[in-house]
Symmetry: C2
Subunit: 391 residues, 2 copies
């Protein structure tokens, strides 16, 4: 078991109608003026925009607004946010939306404290030392960005997509009302189910000995939960139990709990970030759903014991004498589950061209100069093999 | 699923030799002078005292010391600590020890900010509004006080023992080096195993629907871990894997994670606090080991589905056609496990007299005027029944 730091300072307000407390929560922290950051017009259509602004006014909290965050949030909008913050005296950023809005807010929060582009944080040329606090009202269970230390941005000049981790990225508070996800489409719900599972799968199948008993048992418990509740949420969008368990799993899956004592590299996420940076139409979760089984079929021999636990304890594969085939069955069963909830099975279904696979593998590995040395080493050749197997 | 607030701000530094960073950690927070609070002479014998004070000096951190915390920490020592803090300009309290030292530190931390006795917090006559921060170096895996919001103190004038919960009670940071528990005796290790399990068992068997899928799966994963690693730690005191998993389970078991969405009353803890307040020789974990099975045999009919999950998923009872007998087998199996790791089976083994049971039940229920309405209602009659069954 590796030494680790566990740091989850985000205060979570979880449950029905908790967003109605947004004004009093912000007031209690003593903030006077906020940047209200959000995505598309659905926030206004649903009425949530009006509810939040009413609560802000009731509590005497001034705000400036910046909407328009797109999936795979763009650096250009982050820069607009930073301009606003350098002009106006804002105490905190309220991100209302899913992971894209939260990550955009995180980038603004560190970017407003420096006189260079926050993209330098993403490409690890600079390390943030200050920020202004970010609060969250979550409307999509997927990224876990509401408690995580990560911030993934797409540079819409170079079309690179990459993230950086910093403890400053952890939101100050997060309001999680499962009812706010009732209107999330089946497709987006499914993308979220994949993303949540993947955050824990990539931590469970990571470098480390089998001595992290507690971490592993918590990870398997989380995976079982999402496997069970995910399909319910797809079939019954207003099932509170399913939506609530997915939402809480979204947070726990990416806050660090499921990798305590283990290494943490997330090579399939790296493969996917390259994919959705190249094809902006690909939702992160959908990309992961296609890539993970291809990766797993190449990786399982590196950690057969872990893949067996996954097979029996999560995927409920009936044990046979042939353990290898049990593992392969489990991987295929997860792939079939993803297809059942509406995910594509192959990259070509997104419109990905075969010719684009090699350039993606080249960009991912910085022209064959870098690799992701996880339980298998994802170098250029391996990346290309995985992309091709997923094609 | 009930609405909940999840708040675990304590920053955890986990792993081998992390205590060597104590000076630099405190320095980074900017504290200049601390109260070094600890328990018995073992800290000096083991050399840990000298290591810590050397690291403090190296980093220019001044300290005053207050040792002598006893198991079931006493109000009189807390009052001494408050006197010191009112006299000296101290920025934080460093608690080095187990739950008793940490709880004593927590009480001093809120008590030094008021002009009345902190006992008023414990008996819920007052609510703390300020504190000075508490940092922890943990040397015993049991109470989970290193991340919890609770603080249990014994009033050594009235011999009442009771706790209060406040978010101010959560330590600022906690250093958890499993190696520091290598020298913990088999008996104290076993008491810790019970305490850790009980913190989650009392949350798992609490009021609430069966819709808390994630919370329940995490709770069961934690219980399986402690059941497995507990016996290893008893038999092999220097087994890092076992000590590390117990230590991390100690924190997670009581930080709130395993009751998200559920009610949280801990009636068996209440029964035990009365017991160890009356009999100061009874370690908290040992008291719980004897009381829980007696409580469970009266309570299982209130939540048969949960008791069945406990039976099959934690206690590894082989399912039969008779579910009730599966549950009873599981309860008895846990009792046998506790005896195997060195816990007493009956209260009389502690020297408890039969005549003292009724006065204890009377004091617990404030002369029959109050009860603990958990999955079964523990009023005077029920408390007495449980004490008698455990006798």
């Amino acid at each position: 078991m590796l030494n680790f730091i566990y740091n989850t300072p985000t205060k979570v307000y979880f449950g029905k109608d908790e967003e109605l407390n947004i004004g009093s929560i912000i007031k209690e922290y003593g903030f006077k003026k906020i940047l209200f950051h959000y995505g598309q017009s659905s926030l206004k259509k649903s009425g949530l925009f009006d509810i939040i602004t009413a609560k802000l006014r009731e509590n005497g909290i001034d705000y400036v607004e910046l909407g328009g965050v797109e999936p795979n949030p763009k650096l250009s909008l982050v820069e607009k946010g930073i301009e606003i913050l350098k002009r106006e005296k804002v105490d905190m950023i309220l991100a209302v939306g899913g992971g894209s809005v939260i990550d955009s807010a995180k980038s603004i929060a560190v970017g407003c404290k420096v006189d260079f582009s926050p993209w330098l944080f993403n490409i690890k040329k600079e390390t943030p030392k200050e920020h202004i606090p970010v609060g969250v009202i979550l409307t999509l269970s997927a990224s876990g960005s509401d408690m995580s230390n990560s911030c993934v941005i797409t540079n819409d000049t170079t079309w690179q997509k990459t993230g950086f981790n910093s403890e400053l990225n952890r939101p100050l508070f997060a309001i999680l009302d499962p009812k706010l996800t009732y209107t999330v489409s089946k497709y987006q719900t499914a993308c979220g189910v994949v993303d949540i599972m993947m955050h824990t799968l990539e931590r469970f199948f990571s470098k480390g000995d089998n001595d992290t008993t507690l971490t592993d048992n918590l990870a398997l418990g989380l995976l079982k939960t999402v496997y069970k509740e995910g399909i319910v949420a797809i079939n019954e969008p207003t099932n509170y139990q399913a939506r609530a368990n997915l939402m809480w799993a979204n947070s726990i899956s990416h806050n660090g709990l499921t990798h305590c004592g283990r290494e943490f590299l997330m090579s399939v996420h790296q493969l996917e970030h390259e994919l959705s940076a190249t094809y902006d139409n690909i939702a992160h979760g959908a990309g992961l759903a296609v890539l993970w089984p291809s990766w797993a079929l190449k990786a399982y021999k590196a950690q057969p014991d872990r893949f067996l636990r996954f097979a029996y304890e999560v995927m409920e594969v009936t044990p046979t004498d042939n353990k290898e085939s049990d593992i392969i069955n489990a991987i295929n069963k997860l792939k079939a589950y993803y297809v059942e909830i509406g995910m594509p099975a192959q990259l070509r279904e997104f419109g990905v061209t075969y010719e684009s696979l090699e350039p993606m593998a080249l960009r991912l590995t910085n022209n064959k100069s870098k690799s992701f040395n996880d339980i298998i080493n994802v170098d250029f050749d391996m990346a290309l093999e995985i992309y091709k197997a997923a094609y």
